[in-house]
Symmetry: C2
Subunit: 325 residues, 2 copies
């Protein structure tokens, strides 16, 4: 399988590493909108201008789109589905129906296969929500995120005057997890589910009390949460908070039996040292499925819900049944 990457940020680098762990795949190029001469890849993979992509139409089996959901993917995925089988990690939840329709049209018209919203949420968490809902019909769903770094919240802190740098962790509330695991079916407010922990480097002479207050009262981002702010030095931030860990849990609890007398808990939990690298691993597995489905004539836009798990594996059906069933 010849795979190419469009966009070379954290996710692109994660894809580059993940492809090396999949012996049936070859990375045939990293495409960028920057000057290719300024981009140096981790593994020495060749870098080309994104302008060259349409001409490579017959040399790439799947194009992996590594841009952002805000402005890149809404244009890119449908555009490149004209030339290639494509996969993205689009995660703007409210716009998934529109994005799906656009990508499906382009893929169908050009005989390609596309998969949108691969990763862990959306992605593996979505799959677990679906499976658990189909199994436990009379039940309740809970999703918790963290402990992990939220890029959006870290950025929001960095925009406050007087802040030099910052990192924000989303942390699930232990008492809420406990209550869910005990099948108490709690109704949880935003504040009861997660806390927010901020590590902030203030500029010299900045008013720390004002910064702390601006963080804690920021609408949408922090006002609805119990937020802790720690002021630390730049050295401490670099030393202790350089990683991009994340993770979380999807639960469904439900009742069975003649009178709903038996309780059950399904829990799917991810603990990830690197959010972009794990996301990349999921995308690469689904890139295999996209190519195979295209070879079998299954065209158009798909999501993780439409992919039989066997398409993700390099094992034969016989091996899978013998080793994993």
């Amino acid at each position: 399988m010849r795979v190419a990457i469009l966009g070379y940020g954290n996710l692109g680098r994660g894809i580059e590493c993940a492809i090396r762990q999949n012996e049936d795949m070859e990375l045939v190029g990293v495409y960028t909108r920057r000057d290719p001469g300024t981009v140096k890849t981790l593994t020495g993979a060749a870098v080309y201008s994104a302008d060259e992509l349409p001409a490579k139409k017959d040399e790439i089996d799947v194009l992996i789109l590594c841009g952002g959901s805000a402005t890149d993917l809404p244009k890119q995925t449908a555009e490149y589905a004209k030339y290639f089988n494509v996969i993205d990690s689009f995660d703007t939840h409210a716009k998934i129906p529109e994005h799906f329709a656009n990508v499906d049209k382009a893929a169908q018209e050009n005989g390609h296969t596309a998969l949108i919203s691969a990763g862990w949420d959306p992605g593996m968490f979505s799959l677990n929500r679906l499976y658990a809902n189909c199994i436990l019909r009379d039940g309740k769903d809970y999703t918790f995120w963290g402990k992990g770094v939220s890029q959006g919240h870290s950025d929001a802190i960095r925009r406050i005057p007087g802040v030099q740098d910052a990192k924000q962790y989303t942390v699930p509330v232990e008492a809420a997890l406990e209550s869910v695991r005990n099948c108490e079916n709690p109704e949880l407010t935003t504040r009861q589910k997660h806390t927010r922990e901020c590590f902030v480097v203030a500029k010299e002479g900045a008013d720390k009390a004002r910064i702390e207050n601006e963080i804690k009262t920021m609408p949408n981002y922090f006002a609805d949460y119990d937020t802790t702010v720690h002021f630390i030095t730049e050295e401490e931030l670099q030393r202790d908070h350089a990683g991009i860990p994340h993770g979380g849990m999807v639960f469904r609890t439900g009742k069975t039996g003649l009178n709903g007398e038996n309780n059950h808990v399904i829990e799917y939990k991810l603990t990830l040292d690197s959010n972009p690298e794990f996301t990349a691993c999921v995308i690469v597995a689904y890139a295999r499925a996209v190519y195979r489905m295209n070879c079998e004539g299954l065209k158009g836009c798909k999501t993780v819900f439409d992919v039989a798990p066997a398409y993700l594996s390099t094992m034969t059906p016989e091996e899978m049944r013998a080793k994993l069933l």
Copy 2:
């Protein structure tokens, strides 16, 4: 969807209850090899002789086989795949390839769809092993069972002279779970993974020391484990150990990054008050998939690996993408 049950034990009763939670399904009959007059169903569902099944060929969309893996299913699933779409929970691991081949032949020849080995292990645990293996390519798998009742081990104790009744719990070792979750990649012996806890009612005058010794030294079942034996009264057994809880965890831990510098943990955990009722819920969801796949012309024998998750749900693709993705 018209669904029928063959075999009315714990699993059959679980299926009967689960069908009531699925509004698109109707239980059209419970079939038994016993005298139908002697079988009383929980919900008042009609009971028929298994001999009548072939004549009901056009009145049943999926037949759910609720017999045992030792002697019932190896014959029944292939036999009834001649007349019906069928699903079973066959769990004799070593014989899955042979069972698959037999069922596939019968289903293919008669234009039916079959699914074998549905449930939680094999079933949901298998699925999670597959997904996690496709995502984390450089990693290690662990499956733990419990805390829960092992019917096979309970039966083995009951066969010891002097034992009136018994219940055996399989318990995962906390230190082993901790080590796996910490990405220490331990190599675990049988003894290091699980302990066995036995609650035994001795017959009057029986030699308890001999019974305890026979349990603890029983090859295959107990000798390789740290086993605890508690002698209790019949009343205590009825009061405190009447349920059939079970569950367990599937882990995969793995490394990503240019030099494998980042660790990740995927954990899927089930905590079940009733093993047969949860198994039944999984089977009923896959029964829906079997019928739909048959309607779409996907014939022959399948496993959970071959079923796109969307087939399990009563939601439309649009609803799924909007609500669960």
